[in-house]
């Protein structure tokens, strides 16, 4: 039996666990907190702009279940908001138990409150992951999806301090870079020559604390745009944002709210005393980060060098996905890199050739493009998402952006990749071995 250990249970880790399990491996997820999905517990935006194409590609490749779960708990579909079209907003308060139940039913072993703190490495091969409890979790292949945000020291040195976000570092302990512990130096994103990282781009308000009008509009349409009084406009915040797809003029001069269960507020942070002076926000309070008056989490502090098969360069059996694998933004990007890493980890264990997704697919192109870009001079200043900014422009230019599920399915079929992530590689190999044995 091939044993795959996934470190980090965010969207990328769930994606990796999904395909590793489908390919036939015995899969364990190590998660430091008490819930899966990481930042996906407070995000909620999928299928906007090029993310629609990527989600449909993942479905056609045979690993679309996580998108289908998100669709099933959608509060709003086909929502347009400034700079974005046809978004689906999933309900962040409902999705985690569904994903947890789905993965557990598949037979994925999820260990909560297990923080990975160190690795045991021999000749560039990881043998086991050490947990904070000193227990060693052994495996054949490892996938690091620990993300790149926090811990508190980074949020303080490069941001405004711990703002008590969903990562909950003070309660569950800081993220540890497993690739670095195994001897591979991290790549660190920058926002200027001397400042590392970037700040998360949105915070969430409790919907019940907003004015009736705003609440009703959110419930009905999923989006509310309100002009910010002149004295509270802070355009300099745009350059600070991770989410370049939302670093638009409209977001500095307007309050853009999206209904994801919470009222997702598309600005990194906002002093509550200022916010409460605006009509409809007199009683507002933050739901995530709890201290969104002062700041937000710092991200892109810990990315591993990798190849286009998602394997970490310099180690024999470590894969990576999500923000750990480059300056990606978003759940869709995390899931799409995760499903490739999970599938390839099993191929690696079985000595099969690893898959590189072709550049005729948005997912394949982005994975390769980001790798090229971060090696350029200003690469570590850039962020990448299917939903906007430079990469969405590229998608449109190359004709990768497509909103017809049938057309996307055709594209995948023409590349002979339909359902490729569904295949149980272990059973297939046993069959081949069986045939071989019978001959002798």
């Amino acid at each position: 039996m091939v044993k795959v250990v996934v470190i980090g249970g965010g969207w990328a880790g769930c994606g990796a666990a999904l395909t590793a399990r489908k390919a036939g491996a015995d899969v364990t997820i190590l998660e430091k907190t008490d819930m899966l999905l990481g930042c996906g517990l407070v995000g909620g935006i999928i299928r906007n702009n090029g993310r629609f194409t990527a989600a449909e590609e993942a479905i056609a490749l045979g690993a679309g279940e996580l998108f289908q779960i998100a669709d099933s708990v959608a509060r709003h579909k086909n929502v347009d908001f400034p700079g974005h079209k046809h978004a689906t907003l999933y309900d962040v308060t409902k999705i985690e138990p569904k994903v947890r139940e789905f993965l557990e039913d598949m037979g994925v072993n999820i260990k909560f409150k297990c923080r990975a703190v160190d690795v045991r490495v021999k000749e560039r091969t990881i043998q086991g992951i050490m947990l904070a409890s000193q227990e060693i979790v052994e495996g054949d292949e490892f996938i690091e999806t620990t993300g790149s945000s926090g811990p508190m020291g980074n949020c303080l040195k490069y941001g405004n301090g711990c703002s008590m976000c969903i990562q909950r570092c003070p309660a569950y302990g800081p993220r540890v870079s497993i690739s670095k512990r195994a001897g591979v130096e991290d790549l660190v994103g920058r926002r200027s020559a001397d400042i590392y990282g970037a700040m998360s781009g949105s915070c969430k308000l409790n919907k019940d604390t907003l004015g009736e009008n705003i609440k009703r509009q959110l419930d009905e349409k999923g989006v509310v745009v309100i002009k910010i009084p002149e004295e509270y406009i802070k355009k300099e915040k745009l350059s600070m944002k991770v989410c370049q797809q939302y670093a638009l003029e409209e977001y500095a001069t307007n309050i853009v709210l999206l209904d994801t269960g919470y009222a997702k507020f598309m600005t990194p942070f906002f002093p509550l005393e200022d916010l409460r002076k605006i009509k409809g926000f007199e009683n507002a309070r933050f739901e995530d980060p709890y201290a969104a008056s002062k700041g937000n989490s710092i991200r892109y502090m810990s990315m591993a060098p990798r190849d286009d098969c998602m394997q970490v360069i310099g180690l024999n059996n470590l894969f990576c996905a999500g923000e750990k694998s480059g300056p990606f933004i978003g759940h869709t990007e995390a899931i799409c890199t995760g499903i490739l890493a999970g599938h390839n980890s099993v191929r690696k264990a079985l000595n099969l050739e690893l898959i590189k997704l072709p550049r005729a697919l948005a997912i394949g192109d982005m994975i390769a493009y980001v790798n090229e870009q971060i090696k350029t001079e200003n690469g570590l200043y850039k962020r990448f998402t299917f939903a906007g900014s430079i990469y969405f422009e590229r998608m449109k230019k190359l004709g990768l952006y497509e909103t017809s599920p049938e057309a996307i399915k055709d594209r995948v079929a023409k590349l002979n990749l339909l359902g490729i992530f569904k295949e149980n590689l272990i059973i297939k190999q046993e069959k081949v071995a069986g045939m071989y044995n019978n001959r002798f």
Binding site: V119, G153, G161, Y196
Partner: protein, 316 residues
């Protein structure tokens, strides 16, 4: 894998300390002059504490304390009791492995002697110490009739403190020899509160007297006789460890004693943690002076601050 240790002071009121100020913090990478946060997490962010305190640190103070009793057990061994005027300080001193520095009034700082807090009477705010008179510093202390100067508290007097603090309904074997017996009373009191079953072996060593015996009997623990340098007792020790279901062993005595016990434990099929008295030369207590510095697995360890498993200290 890196050495797994933690700082005894992290999270206390004396953290951050001078080591943070000089970019030598034992747990925080930021305060080792690095750019990325990657710490030995102990439940708090030292960097945050330091920034919030605006770089100010709280130092341990030297306070005068009156001598209330001096009891010469032999010509080389004295029990000194002193009165501590501050309730809060008495509470801070009341945990296993606590030590302070004492010196006679009027002596310079280099007369400081690290002494284990043998016993504490919290209601009367009285601390007891056992002083073995060996040189100029200890001689000066026992000459003090009314006052001594005390600096503390320091907590790293034994290695493996977390096992003692978290133990509930376990079986402990405690071996104390010579002046090392001074540290076992507070350990036993702490373990009794956790409903643990305790077997104590006492070896008077070169002192020729068991300094912990009377106090242990008072709290209902009857110690057994033991001699480290006697083949019969060595065999008996092996039997106790192997046949009784001992969960933890606390050794308070010389490094030779620690090694002897660790060797027995290494041969067992199940792993029994050894908690050991910290025998390093403690001088400043702050991780600064370097007298307790020891090279372990390529890392310089300051044993006045570092809690490290005995298997790393003694070789597992």
């Amino acid at each position: 894998m890196a050495l797994n240790y933690y700082c005894i002071d992290a999270g206390s009121q004396y953290c951050p300390c001078h080591l943070a100020k000089t970019e030598n913090c034992l747990i925080c990478s930021m305060m080792q002059g690095k750019e990325i946060c990657d710490c030995r997490w102990q439940g708090i962010c030292v960097y945050q504490e330091y920034m919030w305190a605006d770089g100010k640190i709280e130092e341990r103070k030297t306070i005068p304390a009156s001598v209330v009793e001096k009891n010469f057990l032999t010509d080389k061994l004295v029990i000194i009791k002193i009165f501590i005027p501050l309730d809060s300080l008495v509470r801070e001193l009341n945990q296993p492995g606590t030590f302070v520095f004492l010196r006679s009034e009027g002596s310079p700082e280099y007369y400081d002697v690290p002494l284990c807090v043998m016993d504490i009477d919290e209601s009367n705010k009285i601390l007891s110490f056992a002083v073995n008179i060996v040189g100029p510093k200890t001689k000066a202390i026992i000459m003090s009739d009314s006052m001594v100067l005390m600096r503390g508290p320091y907590w790293n007097g034994l290695l493996g403190l977390k096992h003692i603090k978290s133990s509930y309904s376990k079986h402990w074997l405690i071996i104390g020899r010579g002046i090392g017996q001074a540290s076992i009373i507070s350990v036993v009191k702490n373990l009794l509160r956790g409903n643990n079953n305790i077997t104590v072996l006492l070896d008077s060593g070169t002192l020729k007297i068991n300094i912990a015996e009377d106090e242990l009997k008072k709290i209902g623990v009857i110690p057994q006789e033991f001699e480290l340098n006697n083949a019969f007792y060595k065999k008996r020790l092996r039997e106790i460890i192997e046949k009784n279901a001992v969960d933890f062993v606390y050794s308070s005595g010389s490094d030779i004693q620690h090694m002897f016990i660790q060797n027995i434990l290494n041969k067992l099929s199940r792993r029994i943690p050894l908690i050991a008295s910290n025998n390093h030369q403690l001088c400043c207590g702050e991780g600064i002076c370097g007298s307790c510095e020891t090279l372990i697995d390529g890392e310089l360890i300051h044993f006045c601050k570092v809690q490290l498993g005995s298997e790393n200290v003694l070789g597992g």
